[in-house]
């Protein structure tokens, strides 16, 4: 069986895992990150994208508030291309009263969060979409953060510092030898290949799923899984983040993110077996809209693109807390200390805002065991993309502002790696391998202005292996048409140029199905018309349903169908007997033996 050796292996490619990956790589550790799907597919990719100022927790959780405002400032510095300094409003409606506002301002002051009290008129001038019946507002330094981009940038930096990313790779067991974790058993979900990664430190950064990894070592953690649903509006309704100035509740934050606005969230406790059920219910949609309209009344007549939900990885410290009262603070467990099991570190709890801090804490633990004294630099060294201001530079590209602006908005200074400049003397890597570089600036996704070059760059440099992967890195298919036009264009581009790394038809089918899943809960009005039209184009005109799959289709399809069973077998085999050699386990798995 194949065996890889490294210093640190990280399980989980969310923001936290990616942050740990970068931190480890920057400190010179040999690092591998395994992720069972793609980066940012769990909780990271399923939240508001709110760059908290900490104000939301100022009254209820001072510690988190302080953490948030510190990280808020750090991220604005290191990840400027993933962040917009929009500022936010905490509005008080007549039914809320102004009592909470006083507590709120005190809380913010304690946490060091600057506030500015506004009159309703001032608030309406700053943010015309806000409910005109408001009685007061406070301005705080909230912002927006793109969770996909921040994760991808961390990964990119880690890889550029020698790290290895393995997506579609599932950790199916821990290698435990002589009372010490010595690595992990992996399964390549695409090929069905199983192998092991030997590492001195295993960092469990699987967030809401961290109990699964801990169970491989018979450890347990009291996770409180809280599910939150959100709706994506068709356009950017608001320029500033809008919050309700009251105790945190359902659907009380409206966040402008890139070209859209996101309203959320709800909060429902879910059991461990429900973590993969990501269907948004009718009741959740109703609550989100009813409450959302109180923030911005025009929401009722605004098109809704899709609904989605994520699971918060909260760790209970008391037995009867509802999720709004459980701290959003990070939880870092060095199992060498807590469970006498050296070699395993678990980092969970926390939130997107504090991903970097979580990564620093976890990496410090690993560094201590590895005897590495190099200090953490992730709070001061900007991420790739934030290392120079290309906004001024992009003016010289003689491209439409929509094209150059979107490229720079998403990739910061890295945009110049895929934009085809007029200047003949400048040649990028992509220029050299392409026969017709001038087509690179051609727009493939018109809603979000994603060019051919950006797509190829994402495949070549950002490890995109499917249309959904591309969506997370470029925003293809995230606009109002939800991939109606660009899905097929992108698939054909990949078929023509990158069919060795991407299976275009399989990717197309997955993508269309995945888009449909999010549209279904909000199917009325313009969204319904769009869905009908998409069906008509993709099925009626292009016959998507009759295109079964790619060339080696049958083989791959079989693997796809079998992968669930394969994973189950592999996990069981590893869990059954840690002393079994990998080969024995493999044989047992192949025989389909269930222990």
């Amino acid at each position: 069986m194949k065996r890889l050796e490294t210093d640190v292996v990280i399980i989980g490619g969310g923001a936290t895992g990616a942050g740990v990956f970068r931190d480890c790589c920057l400190r010179g550790m040999r690092t591998i990150l395994v992720e069972r799907n793609d980066i940012a597919t769990g909780t990271t990719g399923r939240n508001h994208g709110l760059l908290h100022s900490g104000a939301r927790y100022a009254v209820t959780d001072g510690h988190s508030a302080t953490e948030c405002i510190r990280e808020n400032r750090t991220l604005k510095h290191i990840a400027s291309h993933c962040i917009e300094n929009t500022d936010g409003l905490f509005i008080s409606l007549p039914e809320d009263g102004l009592e909470y506002q006083a507590k709120f301002i005190n809380g913010c002051a304690r946490a060091g969060i600057p506030t500015e009290i506004l009159t309703p008129e001032q608030a309406l001038r700053l943010e015309p979409v806000v409910n005109p019946s408001l009685i007061g507002a406070v301005r705080i330094p909230d912002g927006t953060i793109d969770p996909f981009r921040i994760t991808s940038s961390n990964i990119l930096d880690g890889r550029e510092h020698g790290g290895t990313l393995l997506t579609d790779t599932r950790a199916v067991g821990l290698i435990i030898q002589q009372g010490q974790v010595a690595g992990i058993h992996c399964l390549d979900v695409r090929t069905g290949e199983r192998y092991e990664i030997r590492a001195a430190q295993v960092i469990n950064a699987t967030g809401a799923w961290c109990h699964e990894i801990m169970e491989y070592a018979d450890l347990s953690v009291d996770m409180y899984h809280s599910r939150g649903a959100l709706l994506i509006m068709g356009h950017r309704m608001n320029g500033m983040v809008i919050n309700r100035c009251r105790k945190p509740g359902d659907s009380d934050i409206l966040v402008p993110g890139d070209t859209v606005s996101v309203i959320g969230t709800t909060s429902t406790h879910v059991g461990r077996n429900e973590l993969e059920n990501m269907e948004v219910t009718d009741e959740e949609v109703r609550v989100l809209l009813e409450e959302g309209c109180k923030l911005a009344p025009s929401m009722a007549s605004t098109r809704i693109l899709r609904a989605y939900c994520g699971v918060r990885p909260l760790v209970s410290t008391s037995s009867n807390g509802s999720d709004r009262t459980i701290s959003r603070g990070l939880v870092a467990i060095d199992h060498a200390d807590s469970d006498n099991l050296p070699g395993l570190i678990t980092i969970t709890g926390g939130k997107l805002m504090t991903y970097r801090l979580m990564a620093e804490v976890a990496t410090d633990m690993a560094a201590k065991h590895l005897g590495i004294s190099k200090a953490c630099t992730t709070a001061s060294v900007p991420l790739p993309g934030a290392q120079g201001d290309d906004r001024a530079n992009s003016q010289s590209w003689s491209l439409p502002n929509t094209v150059s602006g979107s490229a720079v908005y998403r990739h910061g200074d890295r945009a110049r790696n895929f934009i085809k400049e007029e200047d003949k003397n400048k040649q990028t890597d992509l220029d050299k391998q392409e026969s017709s570089p001038r087509w690179r600036n051609a727009v493939v996704c018109e809603c979000e202005v994603v060019t051919r070059g950006e797509i190829l760059y994402a495949v070549d440099k950002l490890n995109a292996r499917s249309l959904s992967d591309l969506r997370r890195r470029t925003r293809i298919g995230m606009g109002p048409c939800q991939g109606e036009m660009c899905a097929c264009r992108t698939a054909s581009l990949l078929a023509a140029t990158r069919s060795d790394v991407v299976s275009p038809l399989k990717a197309l089918h997955e993508f269309v199905d995945e888009r449909w899943k999010g549209v279904r809960p909000v199917l009325w009005g313009d969204g319904l018309r769009e869905a009908e039209f998409s069906y008509w184009v993709q099925e009626g005109l292009l016959g998507l349903g009759s295109l079964k799959s790619d060339q080696q289709n049958d083989q791959q399809n079989d693997q796809q169908n079998d992968s669930e069973a394969l994973i189950a077998n592999a996990v069981d085999a590893c869990a059954a007997d840690e002393t079994l050699s990998g080969q024995q386990a493999e044989q047992r798995a192949e025989q389909g033996e269930v222990v």
Partner: protein, 412 residues
């Protein structure tokens, strides 16, 4: 509250009133297939990307304003094509003034303030006409102002329509039926004869023509050139005069310009945010009014004209849904052989074609139309729009008539 109740409840409570019709866009691209500019300018991304797609980006930041928006002619063929009722052309026009560089430009001011320019030429029209026709002056206008030197300028009339009207005002008052005429800048300053034709035709149908106490430019060139505030002020003045006219016993307001009529009747509310509901139903483009009168039996006596004409349908008349009325009217003229030209934009688009940077585009857009006109053996070209007339007369060998002029020629 039920989901349905939520969706209904807050519909009109929104605190702001900008045009959100871009939200309805299905990305079907029907508009792009009909755009005359995109067909001749590969660097123009077309109405979908400039309009609804671009608006989503511009809401993010005004930095996403695409320079290419200036190539839009506001012909509104995209809006006619759109199955989702997206006000594409309005979105583009608004974006230019809302997000763009709004520094004062003398050329845009001169071209768009059609009534002011007309007033300034009063008494000096023959001189101005001679001046704008000579090469050195045109060269100076080209270099200094960016008004293309190849463009033929509309001649200014010696005596304005309003003044000429004074000669017939008395006899107009004798008719039992009275209608108010919004003559617009073009008839007043450039082509008073067309206004007189309108009076003759309506008089032959026993309808007297009144002028409004006061009228100003409808606003089309002002919106196109980035003067929305001026357009709004004009709209308010015009509507107040319309209301006054209706109160004074006028049957309605008619216009002989297809673009003015579209603006006055259909576009004031959403293009300028000005409510015209009190008088809207009374505003008509002349051919619609006449076609309805003809259908009701009020037809003047006519003799055969024995002419062959080729009819060009102006973009804004298509947008207003008025082409059929003009055709109905032309079909009533005895001895008229009517050829319908293909529906092609002529390319001038009001003040657009006068601008130096647009000249080539303007002529390229119009070229299929010019070719078809030259290939036809028509005696005249007929069209409802004054700038289409300028463009066709400049770009082809044929003379262009307004349907009203043709009708007047048929009167006994």
């Amino acid at each position: 509250m039920s989901l349905f109740a939520i969706l209904k409840s807050t519909e009109n409570k929104s605190g702001h009133s900008f045009d959100r019709s871009f939200d309805q866009c299905l990305k079907c691209t029907a508009c792009a297939s009909q755009c005359p500019v995109a067909a001749v300018r590969p660097d123009y991304p077309g109405p979908k990307q400039c309009g609804p797609d671009g608006e989503r980006l511009r809401l993010k930041s005004s930095e996403f304003l695409d320079e290419a928006l200036k190539y839009c002619t506001s012909c509104k063929r995209c809006e006619v094509a759109c199955p989702s009722d997206v006000r594409i052309s309005d979105i583009i026009a608004t974006a230019r003034s809302k997000y763009g560089n709004n520094s004062f430009k003398i050329r845009e001011f001169m071209l768009s303030h059609t009534d002011l320019m007309g007033t300034l030429t009063r008494g000096s029209a023959p001189l101005v006409n001679k001046m704008t026709a000579i090469k050195p002056v045109r060269l100076v206008m080209d270099k200094a102002l960016g008004i293309d030197r190849r463009r033929t300028f509309p001649a200014y009339a010696k005596t304005s329509f309003r003044r000429q009207y004074q000669n017939v005002a008395e006899q107009q008052a004798q008719f039992a039926r009275q209608i108010s005429y919004f003559h617009g800048c073009y008839v007043n300053y450039n082509d008073p004869e067309l206004g007189m034709d309108l009076i003759r035709v309506l008089n032959a149908m026993n309808i007297g023509v009144r002028l409004l106490n006061k009228e100003k430019c409808c606003g089309v060139p002002l919106v196109a050139n980035g003067f929305p505030d001026k357009a709004r002020a004009n709209a308010r003045l015009n509507l107040a005069n319309f209301e006054q006219a209706m109160a004074d016993g006028s049957e309605g307001i008619i216009s002989s310009s297809s673009s003015c009529a579209l603006m006055l009747k259909d576009e004031y509310p959403h293009a300028l945010g000005i409510d015209n509901s009190k008088v809207k139903s009374g505003i008509n483009f002349i051919t619609r009014f006449l076609a309805n009168e003809f259908a009701a039996g009020n037809k003047p006596e006519m003799t055969p004209v024995n002419l062959k004409v080729a009819y060009h349908s102006p973009c804004h008349l298509i947008k207003a849904g008025g082409v059929l009325h003009t055709l109905n009217l032309l079909w009533e003229i005895p001895g008229l052989e009517l050829q319908q030209l293909n529906s092609n934009c002529c390319g001038i688009a009001g003040t657009y074609g006068f601008k130096k940077e647009n000249y080539e585009t303007s002529q390229a857009i119009g070229s299929p139309l010019f070719r078809q006109i030259e290939e036809s053996d028509a005696d005249y070209v007929v069209t409802d729009c004054e700038t289409c007339k300028m463009q066709v007369e400049m770009s082809t060998s044929k003379q262009v008539l307004h349907p009203l002029t043709l009708l007047r020629m048929a009167l006994v």
